[in-house]
Symmetry: C2
Subunit: 498 residues, 2 copies
């Protein structure tokens, strides 16, 4: 039998009707909710308006006919108790309080206001927030930014920070990361990180969990929830506030007591959670875990077109706990047959420009090179660096358009072979600089990116990012294969209850 | 009196006439050299062709009328001795051997070929390479990639890797890094890293030196050259091959003996050189050192619009050796007057969205906030995060175009005040993702970037990059202010001679 909390969360993620209290022409929630398939079940509330975005606007939630399951409150903090009272009267299941200006201000009267809100809701309605962006669920259409991807996918995100959750959605969309649920929980006066985590652990739509947190009110509950979730699926965590100044910043952001970094690291380790160091690493690892095959070992082959970068990226692999082993004799002899000596390095990393120039159908294409590497028993993963557009444009002139199409096809063929026939992990980098301003160049790169994404390969804008993501895949593979010792101190069975 | 070597290097960077031996329709050197102001002094050589790119093509360098100072050799390795002989006969001052396939292959016969080339040139002509891209000098027009910036600037680069040097030029162009000289020296059988470094140390056009190296043949000479240069200007260094596998990769890339990482780190430290960890950090630090004011202390203020990121970036500052101190009482009281309580954090980092929405002319603009911070005596540097385009577009609709123009102007005003009136270091981040595909959004970001660059502020695509670059500015400021102890073991006076 489902607990009340699970039922409430199911309603949170898949609400029947939704109301936005404090709707305006410019509030992001109205714009966002009216842009998805949930739009016909969205009701706007603002006593000062009759109509917003061409929709009827109600003076109070109590004026809406029919039930309202889920409410977004976006009115100034001092008005929150009043409208919350009306939500309770209306019988809403869950209320998301977007409004900030509570305990995180550090002011006593605002702390008291937060406490008042908590007490009002207790036993009557579940709360998300205050001071947060709330919930996005592409499957139901519930969302908090207008341009989030509407396509559902395997990544579940639980974030204490709202902009962090927004960034996950917006950058995730660019990187082909697709989400089951994204939650920003803010001050968490009722529903808290462990609640969402427990839900995602058992959510069949969620295959990977990514956490961002600055602190917790209940370390034991959090440990229990993380341990349980990490038994069922990969859980990644980023902890903000690991330095003294960072902790002070966290306190004025979400009012969190952040705790010593060593305690957190050991908590994550005990729970079998993979701790990462920054936003990009978290997003990149989530992408890898949501679509790449787990590597069966550390052995990594790098295919690149730059000697200097191949040296630096090899260093990076080693620092990240991977290996870049020499190729076997047979691999080298096969590669020698297809690649000339000068300006190439028939070694690992493979720095062999001609494989990008040999046309499909001839011997020594990119696909041939990938095939040869994937037969090497020391190689468990292949990291492919696609950064040839500039060279090819210079060398081929107008012919580059057709040629690139063929090269991309050959590249995808090779990657598919390595993954599907040989069971290798394949990571790809389609190198682009953030400030690149050559639209033609960007278009060619996007062709390669799209082709790889369509075949469900993880694509990264830098070789460093793809290597870091591979190392996190490998960390998870090692945890799964049992090199990870589970926490000795098991939480008591009822530790997951509040 | 200038040494022969210095005279040769002056000719290398500012050659009269240049020949490309092995020119073709598609070789990058011909394309590059014919695209700059040096074009009229460029001669193409290829016995199989009569004309390339509409220019006469000579069968041999000996057929060219008049002197040739500088030659690019781009013929297969086995032909190099023959054409080098002709260059010597022609009386060329310096020859750049692009061709690869020498000692870096690890093959004995290729090692012998390299030795033969070295012996041929000894005392007759100076060599750059083989296995490298050679020299780019925007001031003279000498270059090796067609789309390098033609605008000269303060950064000198000496790189063992060719693609690394190319990347410096191409990414540098996107990031507003301008170069005095960029050298890729490869196998360095004659002119080597210390030679170029000595030259750049005394080159009045070079204000910052960036090095990439994988190994050296002569540690004492390198130490002496680095020590000398670092006394005169900031020297940044990135060492490739700091792990076992990385060293193996370096060996097959440039035939370098890479040495233990601790030896290199201590060498850099002794010499007063700032060691960095990756390509982006090197480029970003070079940009900072080429245009930002040196910080007079660690105290850093961050202005952002994201609570979650402000926590993470504070952690990053601390890890990078900076501080994010609390603001003084007066600063907080001034800020409180202009920023409402809810959803903001009047603390350091300053997370105060209304300052991006208050129109110029009203109280509480971005410029006002920057001005207030720049008066705080604990604050030596300001890191400004510009990431508002998405919000502003949603909130303002079509009015965003005009508003953004005003906001950018106000932002630049504030930054100028902090730097020029208050002597603060100002770093800026105009946040863009590499895979961002919204052209309108990119255009708005480029407006902000351009406006800041025009006023010579360093601009970075991520807040993390701007913080890392600030930390390297601070490292250099500390070295200069004498917290750095110079190396005890001074090199002998003639150590700079080969």
């Amino acid at each position: 039998m489902k607990s009340d909390k699970v039922r409430a969360l199911e309603c949170v993620f898949n609400p029947g009707a939704v109301a936005v209290i404090g709707a305006s022409d410019y509030d992001g929630f109205s714009q966002a909710l009216l842009s998805t398939k949930i739009r016909d079940r969205v009701f706007l509330v603002n006593p000062k308006r009759r109509e917003i975005h061409g929709r009827r606007c109600y003076a109070s939630i109590l004026d809406i006919e029919g039930d309202i399951d889920y409410v977004v409150i976006a009115v100034p903090a001092l008005h929150v108790p009043e409208v919350l009272g009306e939500c309770i009267q209306k019988g809403a299941e869950a209320v998301h309080i977007f409004t900030a200006g509570f305990s995180e201000t550090g002011l006593e009267e605002r702390r008291a206001l937060e406490e008042e809100v908590r007490e009002m809701a207790r036993g009557k309605v579940r709360l998300i927030g205050p001071n947060c962006m709330g919930v996005c669920c592409p499957r139901s259409g519930l969302t908090f930014i207008p341009d989030a991807s509407t396509e559902a996918g395997p990544v579940g995100v639980v974030s204490q920070s709202g902009t962090f959750a927004e960034q996950f959605l917006s950058v995730g969309k660019l990187r082909n990361v697709k989400f089951s649920k994204v939650v920003s929980y803010g001050n968490a006066i009722d529903l808290d990180c462990p609640d969402f985590l427990e839900y995602l652990a058992h959510d069949p739509d969620t295959e990977v969990v990514a956490l961002y947190m600055e602190g917790t009110r209940n370390g034991n509950r959090l440990r229990a929830a993380m341990t349980e979730a990490a038994k069922l699926k990969p859980v990644l965590a980023l902890k903000g506030g690991v330095t003294d100044h960072g902790r002070r910043a966290a306190s004025s952001h979400t009012g969190s007591l952040a705790g010593a970094p060593e305690i957190w690291s050991s908590l994550f380790k005990q729970a079998g959670v993979i701790q990462v160091e920054d936003f990009d690493e978290l997003l990149d690892a989530a992408l890898a875990l949501s679509c790449a095959r787990l590597p069966s070992g550390k052995g990594t082959a790098i295919i690149t077109n730059s000697g200097g970068f191949s040296v630096l990226e090899t260093d990076l692999c080693i620092k990240a706990g991977l290996e870049v082993p020499p190729f076997g004799k047979e691999t080298i002899s096969e590669l020698r047959k297809m690649v000339p000596l000068a300006g190439t390095s028939i070694a690992n990393p493979l720095d062999a420009w001609p494989i990008y120039f040999n046309t499909p159908g001839t011997r020594g294409t990119l696909a041939d090179a990938i095939r040869v590497l994937s037969h090497d028993e020391n190689i468990h993963s292949i990291v492919l660096h696609f950064d040839e557009v500039g060279y090819l444009r210079r060398a081929l002139g107008a012919a580059v358009e057709d040629y690139l199409g063929e090269l991309i096809e050959v590249m995808v063929q090779g990657c598919r072979y390595a993954r599907d026939e040989m069971g290798r992990t394949v990571m790809t980098c389609v190198a682009l600089d953030a400030y690149s301003d050559d639209e033609e160049d960007r278009r060619y790169h996007f062709l390669a990116k799209k082709a790889l994404e369509t075949e469900r390969f993880p694509v990264y804008p830098s070789l460093g990012a793809s290597i870091k993501a591979l190392s996190n895949l490998y960390r998870y593979a090692s945890l799964r294969s049992g090199s990870h010792k589970p926490a000795r101190r098991r939480p008591p069975a009822d530790a997951s209850l509040p």
